[in-house]
């Protein structure tokens, strides 16, 4: 029998208020090892803000974030990332003046010696089929390609916890499908949270989904459970139809 996976990330009463806007409001969230969790919810539901509280980009107004027994709320982003957390933000966040290869190498080299970093960089480039553009400045790439480079930076660092905020934004159908494959692959060795809009994409990768609404978790369950709940349909699925 497989032993029950333990909690690797937990938030308790996590709140982020911007003046009167309660972007995240008393969220209790639990993530178990090797999970592949999707966060869904309408625009402005607070998903990105929730993410930024996990990664240290925002200092939460209240509450706590615990990653593998380390209290990280209010810590610097590099401290959170140093725990082995790979992060992709919603807006493409890359080194425009560096080549594709240099971007990915910078990520890998943080954790490994020069030789291993080079190997990991080449592997990531191959996996993401970036070989043709490996020496191109990332600033000259199209939006979708920049997303891939950012994914490459995440996998080259070999994180055990991966946080992806809208990784398929701006991608074609085909690219989205490839991203789904890639995420499933990463999931063999890492726990993942993905924020996503594309329902089909969510269905294809996730067993367990968390629905955000107005800064709070409205519902958790499988995609089937959520899409059959009338309230959830109205909040999210209804608004899309």
């Amino acid at each position: 029998m497989k032993r029950k996976a333990h909690t690797v990330l937990e938030t308790r009463g996590l709140s982020m208020h911007f003046g009167g806007v309660h972007a995240v409001d008393r969220v209790d969230f639990t993530l178990r090892e090797n999970e592949l969790r999707c966060l869904i919810g309408p625009n402005g539901a607070g998903k990105s803000t929730f993410f930024k509280c996990l990664t240290g980009q925002l200092n939460p107004t209240a509450g706590d974030v615990v990653i593998r027994d380390v209290h990280v709320a209010g810590r610097e982003p590099h401290e959170v990332a140093s725990l082995g957390v790979g992060i992709k933000t919603q807006v493409p966040n890359v080194f425009d003046g560096l080549t594709v290869e240099e971007n990915i190498w910078t990520a890998a080299r943080r954790w490994h010696n020069a030789k291993r970093a080079q190997t990991l960089t080449s592997d990531a480039i191959e996996r993401l089929k970036l070989g043709d553009i490996r020496s191109t400045l990332v600033g000259n790439l199209a939006h979708g390609q920049r997303q891939w480079v950012e994914l490459g930076m995440v996998i080259a660092a070999e994180p055990w916890l991966v946080l992806l905020d809208e990784p398929t934004a701006g991608m074609t159908h085909e690219e989205t499908a490839r991203t789904a494959d890639l995420i499933r692959e990463i999931n063999h060795s890492a726990t993942i949270i993905v924020v996503e809009h594309d329902m089909q994409f969510v269905r294809s990768i996730s067993q367990h989904v968390t629905l955000f609404h107005e800064g709070a978790i409205m519902m958790e369950g499988t995609m089937e459970e959520i899409s059959s709940d009338p309230r959830a349909r109205e909040v999210y699925l209804g608004s899309k139809a």
Binding site: H78, S82, V94, F95, D96, G97, L98, E102, M153
Partner: protein, 356 residues
């Protein structure tokens, strides 16, 4: 080491530097050789800003603070030690230590870029007015009178650990050039190390570097401190070249000039600002010896032309030009090859190959 092998262009430039050093005294007049020491000092200052601003992305408007501190520390230490050897080390350490303390507050306080520029410039100007006020006999450090706006006369360089044997102007020139070449090769190596590459990544996108688990404050502090030590080294040769150190090393025009050298030479290169320093220095002195054109007006015009017309600076612009030419040549060669192989599908093939 991988970095050293990647430095082909650097070694070539260093060889040219060595050739210039060896040939200099036999082709140049003694007077030129003497003034060259100060220009070399200034070019080391430009190099330090090229490192800190061009590669570290730290907009330091007060790089001359470390340059001036280096100069003062060298003179004061050399007077007190009665020799220049240890004084050189002291000067670089003083400049670095001052930068480390200032940088700690600035970077760990997460001061934004614009404020950093203002703060560093302000610190320089504060030093300027403080040092200017040290005219009385009560302002002395050990045996060295600070001398207010008159400054202090700088002890000459001597043979290592033999304070009685002074160097001749040619020898000072050799030492200064050696310092410049070593500093240049060192910077070129540094920006290729893991540390240097992370600094460049931070310049490109600090948030991303943080999210890759790099403590960006530490890296910025590191490159800032190293840059200050190099600026201090420049200060040493500058004051030896003019045989005096005055508060003018901290003055606003000196700060502005340093920024102009880097803009003209090109951010993102190390050799550009060095060459720009030499070129603009001799342009300025040529202009100074005539009365038709106002020197500052010309410098201002050059700056405006560069900011608007060649924003990347001379050296990057030239290398871009060469690269695009080489690229076009390679493309044409490839086209010819393809034409020979399969004449019918030339157009198709080149468009896909262009994506490489």
């Amino acid at each position: 080491m991988r970095e050293l092998r990647e430095m082909k262009a650097t070694w070539i430039i260093a060889v040219f530097g060595i050739l210039f050093t060896l040939a200099g005294p036999s082709v140049l007049e003694l007077f030129t050789i003497i003034t060259l020491a100060q220009v070399i000092g200034l070019s080391i200052l430009a190099l330090s800003l090229a490192l800190v601003w061009g590669f570290g992305g730290i907009l330091c408007f007060g790089q001359t603070a470390f340059f001036g501190l280096g100069a003062y520390a060298y003179v004061i230490a050399a007077i007190n030690f009665g020799g220049s050897s240890w004084a050189i080390l002291v000067a670089m350490l003083v400049a670095a230590a001052f930068a480390a303390i200032l940088g700690y507050f600035v970077f760990y306080g997460r001061v934004s870029d614009v404020y950093l520029a203002v703060i560093t410039l302000t610190v320089t100007l504060i030093l300027y007015s403080l040092i200017r006020r040290t005219s009385g006999p009560e302002y002395k450090i050990g045996n060295a009178l600070l001398g207010g706006f008159n400054g202090i006369s700088a002890p000459p360089l001597n043979y290592p650990w033999d304070a009685s044997a002074f160097l001749f102007p040619e020898q000072v020139f050799y030492v200064a050039m050696l310092a410049l070449i070593i500093a240049y090769v060192f910077c070129s190596w540094l920006v290729r190390t893991h540390f240097g590459r992370v600094c460049v990544a931070i310049r490109e996108n600090e948030d991303r570097a943080e999210l890759l688990a790099y403590d960006t404050r530490l890296y910025k502090l590191g490159i800032f401190t190293v840059g200050a030590a190099i600026a201090g080294l420049g200060g040493i040769f500058f004051c030896i070249g003019v045989s005096r150190v005055t508060p003018d090393v901290f003055s606003l025009p000196q700060s502005a000039l340093t920024i102009i050298w880097v803009i003209v030479g090109g951010r993102g290169t190390l050799i550009g600002p060095i060459l720009a320093t030499f070129a603009l220095y001799y342009l300025t002195s040529a202009l100074g010896s005539q009365s038709v054109l106002n020197t500052n007006l010309v410098l201002g015009t050059i700056l405006i032309i560069f900011v608007l017309g060649v924003p990347k600076g001379v050296v990057p612009a030239i290398s871009d030009l060469m690269q695009s030419r080489r690229g076009r040549k390679a493309l044409r060669a490839r086209e010819r090859r393809l034409q020979r192989r399969r004449p019918s599908s030339t157009h198709n093939a080149t468009t896909t190959e262009g994506a490489e």
